[in-house]
């Protein structure tokens, strides 16, 4: 019966013996065990006293209180509730896409093949098709071309109103020769039908202009530059009026519709008219 009662100390543990028994209280076999480790009763009692002091000191000292900031900082390491839900959703999606049970996609051969396919796909998507490049070349103006294509900004800008020159009298240009070349070399290529009245080619033919320029001012039959100038003045006035009206009409219509591209040929027409004025 006595053998089965649990002892509060371990007979093979000297620390336990010191805590529970004085040297005099030790059994002979315990004393024998203790004396194998300590020099004698004095050392045993001294160690025993120190051990009790240690435990008493520990109990009185207690545990230190850590800084509350430690706890706050550690709690801040956890993600917020909203983010955690999003993360769980993402994780589950990734797990469905790439289940960890499957290991075939971890093989280097598959990874290499997949990377190559992805690279080729990216190149195919990004690289421009040869046909598209040709089409682009067709639209792109040639390097040596002088006249640039009208831009959208140019087309939206309304045409500058033609400045109507004041009608000069006949005497202003009596002594000045008329340079017919300037009117013959220009070609009207881009005239919108209906925008301008048709020019009477008979009245402004090169031959007549040249003839009038070379003819003396005072002739016997009354023909000459003055006569021609009268006719020209009359037709010019008509055409200028018609042109002003049409330009005003065009300007009014520009508020509602996009202005057609104003090419330099339009300016050539204006220049031609200026020349004709000068010729007068």
């Amino acid at each position: 019966m006595a053998m089965n009662t649990p002892t509060p100390y371990d007979p093979e543990d000297i620390e336990s013996l010191m805590l529970h028994k004085r040297f005099e209280e030790l059994y002979p076999e315990e004393r024998e065990f203790v004396l194998r480790h300590v020099d004698g009763a004095d050392e045993y009692e001294s160690m025993r006293r120190m051990l009790h002091d240690l435990l008493e000191d520990r109990d009185s000292g207690g545990l230190l209180e850590p800084d509350p900031a430690i706890r706050r900082n550690l709690m801040a390491m956890f993600p917020s509730e909203e983010r955690s839900g999003f993360r769980i959703w993402l994780n589950s999606l990734l797990l469905k896409l790439w289940p960890p049970a499957l290991i075939w996609y971890r093989t280097p051969a598959f990874q290499l093949a997949f990377s190559t396919a992805a690279l080729l796909l990216a190149v195919w998507v990004i690289w421009p098709a040869p046909g598209a490049e040709l089409a682009q070349n067709r639209v792109t103006p040639a390097v040596g071309e002088k006249e640039a294509l009208p831009t959208e900004a140019d087309s939206l800008v309304p045409a500058a109103p033609a400045e109507v020159q004041p009608v000069e009298t006949e005497t202003d240009h009596q002594d000045q020769p008329v340079h017919a070349e300037s009117s013959t070399e220009m070609e009207i290529t881009d005239v919108t039908p209906g925008a301008y009245p048709p020019v009477q080619s008979d009245d402004y033919s090169d031959d007549k202009i040249a003839k009038a320029a070379t003819a003396p001012n005072n002739t016997a039959d009354g023909e000459g530059l003055s006569v021609f100038a009268n006719q020209a003045e009359k037709s010019e006035n008509e055409s200028v009026e018609a042109m002003s009206e049409s330009k005003a009409r065009n300007r009014k219509s520009n508020t509602n519709m996009i202005q057609p591209p104003v090419s330099s040929s339009m300016h050539e027409v204006d220049g031609l008219l200026d020349v004709l004025y000068t010729a007068r």
Binding site: S46, D57, L63
Partner: protein, 203 residues
């Protein structure tokens, strides 16, 4: 079912399982259980440096949060935590040339130490100071074993697991540590007795 049980009643292993799922409340309970213990341990092991103890405590629990998978559920959480803390201290000792700094600090404080002598027996505060000095003169292994046993109240088995050695080794280390401390404190008692005799007018 497990959610209805209060967290405070859950075992450490169960709380660690919950922590692996980023359960903040589980961590809060674990910190409440071991925060003070760990802070006190670091404070004693790291030259009573409060700032260092604070940093180490935070680092230790940050490791618990970041890598809960490192915990082996077959082992008690407490001993695992102490083993991690013990390794952190070992690294710190290696980093700072271990004992030299502590010795210098202790010698500087020891020179200015006053002696609040009590009549008849050693004063508690004085005993604590001399014990601390004697402990700091021990080597790292003995000191750690002593702290785990007498400050952190770990069992022999838990200390063996935390320090990754056998129980017999722990017992042996503890005994020789106690013997060495006893010798140093007895010397101090002798010196103290002489001081008391020399200064009888001490209040």
């Amino acid at each position: 079912m497990a959610d209805r049980i209060p967290y405070s009643t859950l075992s450490d292993a169960r709380l660690m399982q919950a922590l692996a799922q980023q359960d903040q409340k589980a961590f809060a309970v674990l910190y409440d259980r071991y925060g003070k213990l760990m802070y006190t341990y670091f404070h004693k092991m790291l030259w009573k440096d409060k700032e260092r103890a604070r940093d180490f405590t935070q680092d230790l629990f940050a490791k618990v949060i970041r890598r809960p998978d490192l915990y082996d559920p077959s082992r008690p959480f407490k001993t695992w935590l102490y083993s991690v803390a013990h390794n952190m201290c070992k690294n710190e000792y290696a980093k700072h040339g271990v004992r030299q700094i502590a010795h210098q600090e202790l010698r500087s404080t020891g020179s200015t130490m006053t002696l609040p002598v009590a009549q008849g027996e050693m004063d508690r505060e004085l005993f604590r100071q001399k014990l601390t000095e004697a402990l700091d003169e021990l080597d790292e292994v003995k000191r750690t074993t002593f702290e785990l046993r007498f400050t952190q109240e770990l069992s022999i088995l838990e200390i063996a697991e935390a320090m990754e050695c056998s129980e017999g080794t722990v017992k042996s280390r503890l005994f020789y540590t106690l013997k060495e401390l006893n010798r140093k404190l007895r010397m101090f008692e002798g010196i103290l007795g002489i001081i008391i005799l020399l200064i009888p007018q001490w209040p």
